[in-house]
Structure formats: structure tokens, C-alpha cells
């Protein structure tokens, strides 16, 4: 193989590799959290309290982290598209941890019983104080891509 042909072969392989990398990156979906380790383990009530005490400091500690939350199932919400949101917390309180389940694990969520204690792994996306039109609707910590770990 001539030197020139060898260089062109390497350039071509390089272009294919770069194109493949960009294609993989472009089509990449969010990681399945059931296969990843949680960075923090905490109870639902402690998580709500932590955010209510100091929103800004707790934001840094929890947001964009994979966390495992253990708590009581207050409500299991099913949306029109068959997706589930598991709401953890004290039934007597308006504040909750809202866990949007990963669409691949809907069947696990559908079997949950109200008032049972479960552990969920999810990505923490933030905290919202719901004070709207002068009414306190309670505060919510939000998790997405959730999977049920223990029920």
C-alpha cells in the first residue's frame, strides 16, 4: 500500500469514527437509573425538610444527583398516556416528593399500593414552593426517570 493510500485510509477511518461518535451522542437517551448507583439515600420526609429549611443550599446538594428516597405512597397518579407519578410523603401534609416514573418501568409502578412504604431511585430535578393566588399548596421535591427499588 502506497503512503498516500495509507493516509487516505486513516483519514477515512477517522471520519467514520467521528461521524459514528456524533450519531451515538445525538441519539443518546437518558440512562436507565436501575443500573446506576444512588449518590444519596434519604427518607421522603427528610428530603422535603432539607429543601424547606434551605432551598439554595439543598439545591446544590441534591439537584442533578441520583437519589434513593424511602417513603409512604400518598397517591399513585396515572396520566392519559399511561405514565405514572408516585407521590411520596405524609398523607396529612400537602408537601410531597413527586416521582415521575421511567416509562420502561410503568408495570412496577402500576402494582404499588397506597400507604405502602417503598424505595424509589430517581434524578432530583428541584424543589417548588406552591404558593399560588395566596394559597399554600405545599412544597414538592421533584424526581424524574424514577424506578421502584424496594416495595
Amino acid at each position: 500500500m502506497s503512503k498516500k493510500r495509507m493516509i487516505w485510509t486513516f483519514v477515512l477511518i477517522g471520519i467514520v469514527l467521528v461521524a459514528f461518535y456524533f450519531y451515538k451522542e445525538y441519539t443518546r437517551t437518558n440512562k436507565d437509573l436501575s443500573k446506576l448507583k444512588a449518590e444519596i439515600k434519604i427518607s421522603a420526609l427528610d428530603l422535603i425538610s432539607a429543601f424547606e429549611e434551605s432551598d439554595s443550599l439543598t439545591n446544590i446538594k441534591f439537584i442533578d444527583k441520583i437519589i434513593e428516597v424511602t417513603g409512604n405512597v400518598k397517591v399513585l397518579e396515572k396520566d392519559d398516556n399511561g405514565g405514572y407519578t408516585i407521590v411520596l410523603g405524609d398523607i396529612a401534609s400537602l408537601s410531597s416528593v413527586r416521582c415521575l416514573t421511567d416509562s420502561n418501568y410503568r408495570s412496577d409502578a402500576s402494582l404499588l399500593q397506597q400507604n405502602s412504604t417503598i424505595t424509589i431511585r430517581g434524578m432530583c430535578t428541584g424543589f417548588k414552593k406552591n404558593e399560588l393566588l395566596g394559597e399554600n399548596l405545599g412544597s414538592d421535591v421533584e424526581l424524574t426517570r424514577c424506578v421502584v427499588i424496594k416495595k
Binding site: 445525538y26 441519539t27 407519578t85
Partner: protein, 191 residues
């Protein structure tokens, strides 16, 4: 005793002349914390959509006042790279974590909240997104069924109105005009 009777009489008179009895806090208000907001960007190269299913919404049926609150990071995309770009580069969700709409149903008096029915309404208010507040006027639909209320609306916003910058290389992928759809099923707020 006479003073007490007079006080009760005038309080009753005041309430009836106002056309309604005194409201306790929360009365006449409907809310949800499981509202759905989705947005859609359409270009010849790519369609992008994302959904948030934890939107808080409250409606005061007496005044027509309405308010929504949403966490930007809770929008879910099909592609992880687009979700990362949305939070980091476009909406800057670390700096501006929430979006909020406060407004009013302008024809609220025409809506009979106690009987089942479907109403078209005009909503006027202010949308705060990416740290910028702009006036927003759109039509919506209010459905009353068995004591529950559903509100929905579809409208467009321009990214440039909210100072959301899309890098040149992505302008063919992301439209400046974004279609937003809001759907909330509201429950009575018990005080």
C-alpha cells in the same frame, strides 16, 4: 344584646347585597399539582417535544384568577443531549429554575362552575420565563364535569421574546416559534 343583633343584621345585609356569602379561604378555588405542560418545536430538520407532568395550577372560580408554576428541569425529552442543551444552554435552568404564569379568564362571569359544560375563554396575563416577564393573551377551554374542572390552552411563544439564544449551528434544528400546550385537571381546594 341590641348591639349584637344590629351587628348580625348589618353583616347579613352586607353579604347579601354583595350578591354572595362571605368566602372562607380556599373556597371557590380549584387546583392541581399534576398538570401537564408540553412544548413542541417544528423545523424541516427535526421535531422536538418535551413534557412536564408536575405543573402546579390554581384557579379562583369567583374571580377567574389563574396561576401556574413549573420547574424547568422537570421537562422530559426523548433525547438526552437535547435535554442537557435545553437546561444548560437555552433555558439556563440553574439560573432560572422556574417558569410562572399569572393571569385571568376575562369572561369568567359567563362560566357556570356549578353545572356541567364546555366554555371557550380568553386568558390574559404575564408569563415569566428565562427571567423575562411578558404579556400573554391566549384562548383556552374550560370544561366542567361532575364538580371537576379541566382547563386547557395551546399558544405560541417566540424564543427571542424571552432572550433564549440558540447557537447558529442548531438554528436549523430548533424553531424560534415554540408551541406550548397546557392541560390541567383541577380538584376543589379544601381549606
Amino acid at each position: 344584646m341590641f348591639k349584637l343583633i344590629l351587628f348580625i343584621f348589618f353583616t347579613f345585609l352586607l353579604n347579601t347585597t354583595n350578591g354572595q356569602s362571605a368566602l372562607s379561604p380556599g373556597e371557590g378555588k380549584y387546583f392541581t399539582k399534576a398538570g401537564k405542560i408540553s412544548f413542541f418545536s417544528k423545523t424541516s430538520l427535526e421535531n422536538i417535544d418535551a413534557t412536564n407532568k408536575s405543573t402546579a395550577c390554581i384557579l379562583n372560580s369567583k374571580t377567574g384568577d389563574v396561576q401556574f408554576g413549573v420547574l424547568m428541569k422537570s421537562f422530559e425529552f426523548k433525547k438526552a443531549l437535547m435535554q442537557e442543551d435545553f437546561n444548560k444552554n437555552f433555558i439556563e435552568s440553574k439560573k432560572f429554575p422556574k417558569a410562572e404564569f399569572t393571569g385571568q379568564l376575562t369572561n369568567n362571569a359567563e362560566i357556570k362552575y356549578t353545572t356541567d359544560g364546555t366554555y371557550t375563554t380568553l386568558v390574559k396575563g404575564k408569563l415569566t420565563l428565562h427571567g423575562i416577564t411578558k404579556d400573554l393573551e391566549t384562548s383556552g377551554i374550560v370544561v366542567i364535569k361532575s364538580g371537576k374542572i379541566s382547563v386547557s390552552s395551546t399558544f405560541n411563544i417566540l424564543l427571542t421574546d424571552y432572550n433564549i439564544q440558540v447557537p447558529k449551528v442548531q438554528r436549523s434544528q430548533i424553531s424560534d416559534k415554540i408551541k406550548i400546550t397546557v392541560e390541567c385537571n383541577l380538584e376543589p381546594l379544601k381549606s
